[in-house]
Symmetry: C2
Subunit: 195 residues, 2 copies
């Protein structure tokens, strides 16, 4: 599953196109133009368009996985929650095209392989979020009024919608600020608290 430098360039070009023109703009022709060589040259590096997309998603998955592993290491669950989303949001801020790729689900229909890559990506997020929430609930920091799965569903849904709004606003507003707000709101809501 290793990638040549040229393949990496192509993946990056694909990302650029996704940001500017969306899933429908991601054609071999545009990809070739962005790479400044012919369409057929693309096929020297990938056997098909599908392979390009899958490679991009897999690269993204590995990338996110290792970044989250490294960035999220506090002992306090609430702190770790903040770190997780902070890392996640700053990653997408640096690479907005991945927001199009992951959260648009416009890719969803293209092929089985792409579908699997996208699901794998969603699972990585859960993999990092789950133990943190569980621990928080066990320690009594997060509410036990609803199940862990339900909590995660609500958190992921909220995050996904935030990314969606950012995307249809053409990445114009400051996602760091509104992302932090979102994290605060959720924390306030899921924290065990006194009214």
């Amino acid at each position: 599953m290793d990638i040549t430098p040229r393949q990496f360039e192509i993946i990056e070009a694909a990302g650029k196109i996704l940001t500017s023109s969306g899933v429908r703009g991601l054609t071999i022709k545009n990809l070739a133009k962005e790479m400044q060589f012919s369409e057929s040259a693309i096929y020297r590096h990938f056997a098909s368009k599908e392979e390009i997309i899958v490679a991009m998603l897999n690269f993204l998955a590995d990338s996110i996985d290792s970044r989250l592993t490294n960035a999220v290491r506090s002992s306090d669950p609430e702190q770790r929650f903040k770190e997780l989303f902070h890392e996640q949001i700053s990653f997408f801020k640096k690479n907005p095209h991945f927001v199009v790729a992951v959260f648009s689900d416009g890719l969803m229909e293209e092929s089985q392989l792409i579908n699997e890559a996208l699901l794998k990506l969603m699972n990585i997020k859960t993999k990092h979020l789950m133990p943190l929430i569980l621990e928080g609930q066990q320690k009594g920091v997060f509410t036990n009024a609803i199940t862990t799965d339900e909590l995660i569903h609500i958190i992921m849904g909220t995050f996904k919608l935030q990314m969606f709004k950012w995307r249809i606003a053409n990445f114009q507003f400051d996602i760091t600020r509104s992302g932090d707000n979102m994290v605060q709101s959720i924390l306030t809501l899921i924290r065990t608290r006194q009214i």
Copy 2:
């Protein structure tokens, strides 16, 4: 903005196709096949594919709007919250193709007009949800720890993700049951409560 019976049939056929084949399957050719007449006959009733999609979304918007207006009339905010989602979910259960249309955002890139129709649709949902949440907060039934907008964001995100999961599961699980669960979880979370 009125619609002929034939146009309505075409819209329904488009819905059927969306359910079975997704956004990419929604072509004039497939539409003609589903209607059992020629491709060019479609153009006797709509000037363009875009018009068909917009008409479908507008019909959907009106439909949802009036259904929500009629179904949600309790005085208790919490009860109204339940009614709202119950109505919403049973509507999508009856018309799963609209889930593809509205929540896939695969349509999002197609054209400006379609975009506007989709945004209008999202606003209708907010229009019905907003006063209900506001009243709940004022009465002290729902938490005031975060703002109304933040609450709505979280609720809408949760609902959207639920629909997304239902869709990628090919509408196989019982959305009424898991939808009710979701409504309960959210209510538990946003209710003012004692720990």
